[in-house]
Symmetry: C2
Subunit: 228 residues, 2 copies
DNA sequence: GCCACGAGTGAACCAGGAATCACAATCCAG
DNA sequence: CTGGATTGTGATTCCTGGTTCACTCGTGGC
């Protein structure tokens, strides 16, 4: 019925302008959408959540999402790009700082753990969905990922002269695998304890004694990131 | 057009009975389908591969798959059920055998590595797709998975009296995470070397010295399983 | 040899969900 | 205060891909 469109459409649902408490027009809607997508995708898998779901979780209707993203996959790409960027920045900062290889390596480990805890769900989505991306984006992200890994290998290499190149890579993958195992189950441990244990096991995989912890900077509260 | 159905339908395509070389009617078509699904899903993600793809890879047409499986998800369930069963059988055999806790734990590690190498792609699919399953199947598989993990924890517990319950679980997850990291990249290493390194790192995560290797049974050639 | 049945095929069906559109409400600039 | 740009909405379109169906072919038992 294209005619008579004004049959109390807006007042029909309970979620009118007065619903919830948030204003209708939200300046950080885009962030909310990303958070919603990350949350839902990490729980149910990206392809099983619809635009309607994402919208609903972000406080708008499905089609409204297209005001902020060109397509569904654009959301995914934005999400994965962001988490990859976080990892890179962290690694960059570590390697730019002072210290020998061992200190650097331990700092890399700690930073990865930090991201795994803070950006838990996004990193989980990354791990599960990179390979479903369209050719181009996948290639790009994979390249970044390779660079990131190369940083680890480069630092680990002088500490493990006994390992060949492929073996170094394997060790790095395993260490990261150990860390990221925490993405897929609820340990219930306190964040600090969790981080410590992961730290120990990652170092164990790498076969390197952890360097003494550096002076901890301003400590942001650990949670599942600003995104959520 | 229900009438006049005989417009040279069969002779149209070039893929007549003489195509390929395999006989048209294949007694192990079902296995071929599972292998195809595992292969494709591990590479591109289960939801991005269509029935047509699976069929094609298995040597038949898309709709033909329904002669062997009720639905697309039925294929996935069959796949995941099978790999979970493999893990369970392995663990069952280990625990039924002789030896103390350390021997058992090392055997569990080795068996998981075996499955990770032999059933590589299926295990990868499991890891990425369990949570997309319909409620019921997911619950069932998760329960089995929990039991399997409980076996590990139960054996590890007396060897790591210093760890609390949640911490034991974390260690087990991390060890398995380290092992399964091999599912997601090509190390290029020889299978034996790969297995040895993974063995070492898994034990390192668990904080337990590996028990001496048992007498190796009849050694089946390592490859990506009979499925592929 | 013949018949029944299982496996395979191509076409058609159909649902669900991504994307589009016209319109309403809101906010901001001038 | 007012007009334009922006954000949100509901309905509509459109298309991909899973599923069904009528039919054919090859095989194995009688």
């Amino acid at each position: 019925m294209p005619t008579a469109p004004s049959t109390a459409t807006t007042s029909g649902t309970a979620s009118g302008p007065a619903a919830g408490g948030r204003s209708r027009r939200d300046p950080e809607r885009r962030e909310r959408i990303l958070a919603a997508a990350a949350q839902l995708a990490s729980r149910r898998g990206f392809h099983t959540v619809g635009m309607a779901d994402i919208g609903a979780e972000a406080g708008i209707v499905g089609s409204g999402v297209y005001r902020h993203f060109d397509s569904k996959t654009a959301i995914l790409v934005a999400l994965l790009d962001r988490v990859m960027a976080r990892l890179q920045e962290g690694a960059g900062a570590v390697l730019a700082g002072p210290g020998d290889e061992r200190t650097h390596l331990s700092a890399l480990v700690r930073d990865h753990i930090r991201v795994a805890i803070e950006d838990r769900s996004v990193l989980a989505v990354y791990h599960r969905e990179v390979h479903t991306l369209p050719e181009e984006d996948r290639r790009r992200l994979r390249r970044l990922q390779r660079h990131y890994l190369e940083d680890w290998v480069h630092v680990l290499s002088p500490l493990r002269r006994d390992l060949a190149d492929g073996e170094l890579r394997l060790a790095v993958h395993a260490a990261i695998g150990a860390i990221q195992s925490t993405l897929f189950f609820r340990s219930g441990l306190a964040p600090e304890r969790l981080a410590d244990l992961l730290d120990g096991m990652a170092h164990a995989c790498l076969g390197v004694e952890p360097a003494p912890a550096p002076a901890p900077g301003p400590e942001p509260a650990l949670s599942d990131s600003a995104l959520e």
